[in-house]
Symmetry: C2
Subunit: 200 residues, 2 copies
């Protein structure tokens, strides 16, 4: 992967991250930790070491930037799932448990505010916001992934169990923002094991 040619890497040493990527990185940080509506485009641009004008050359509006931000994080989440799927190709039950575990570890971090897509769904109720399509596609996609793995694990009522896992994960993500991490995370882990173990 990092093999490449031995010489001729000056254009890599200059390594200027293009502004669009810097803007999306800044948006990911700010929108997640402070909220989408709470953060103005000027702050996003400044945090990306650029300015509003350059931002608007890459994104036609704030709503478009938000949609692109959501595509970004949705892509990362789905890629992480697929990476884990490859590692547990022949063990769907282990895959699901590993996913729950990974999510749990992420939610343990004190700066975690749960799932960025879920939070965005609550912040953006307008049905015609360009971000909503991204949100719904991602959540439906993850639900399908869960259901497929539950079926592969030979669970009876796989669809319902998949939905129950989705509820638990989403519930943990928001509950940690109100009653803290400890209780929700313990309940999440225990309940997931139970759904996948004891349930037929």
């Amino acid at each position: 992967m990092t093999a490449g040619r031995p010489r001729k890497v000056p254009e890599q040493s200059t390594a200027v991250v293009p502004p669009r990527a810097r803007i999306l990185a800044a948006a990911q940080d700010l929108f997640y930790h402070q909220g989408i509506r709470a953060v103005g485009v000027e702050l996003v641009a400044a945090s990306a070491d650029t300015n509003k004008m350059t931002l608007y050359r890459h994104f036609s509006s704030k709503d478009e930037l938000v949609a692109e931000y959501l595509k970004d994080v949705a892509g990362e989440i789905e890629a992480a799932w697929d990476r884990l799927a490859a590692r547990h190709a022949d063990d769907p039950r282990g895959h699901i448990l590993a996913w729950i575990d990974e999510m749990g570890r992420q939610m343990e971090r004190p700066e975690s505010r749960g799932c960025p897509i879920t939070n965005a769904a609550i912040e953006l109720p307008e049905p015609d916001h360009p971000g909503r399509a991204v949100i719904e596609a991602h959540k439906r996609g993850m639900r399908r992934r869960f259901a497929e793995r539950c079926r592969a694990a030979g669970l009876k009522d796989a669809d319902i169990i998949a939905d129950q896992l989705v509820l638990l994960l989403d519930g943990a993500g928001v509950a940690l923002q109100t009653i803290g991490r400890k209780g929700p995370l313990a309940a999440l882990r225990r309940q997931a094991e139970w759904l996948l173990g004891k349930a037929q």
Copy 2:
């Protein structure tokens, strides 16, 4: 209750709802359906058939209005729980199931956006916002109520089961905003029955 004196009810027939109550009613509707940050104080005042000036005579700031709005809905939720508790005084298991059922019926309504307190928690991440104290007190209080009823129902691991119920309810409230009502509500009901039935 409505007995009162037969004459002399003109001041009741005039029945002017005082502005503060009208403002809180308007806030409850607007903040819930459109989001707290998305709604300005001017719109709240106008929807309450009054104006900004009168609003600021009753609430020292928008943040204070938000906190009062949250106190309002938290109080209503807790009152509904207590009302249901009285009706199932000697049947804690039935009480919990009835509560899940009531929440499920509420989430079935097409205009439902899940729990207003949970949504507010996601919209207001600033730790020193006056609404956060209300949010956390309410959520912790509901968790305590669940745990007490689980203990009264003789469940072993009552605290963990209470947390699992809380996760399911919060999860259903947010999942219906992304993947729709059907799946989450079916999973919620089934899982709750299971937690309270099959679990020792």
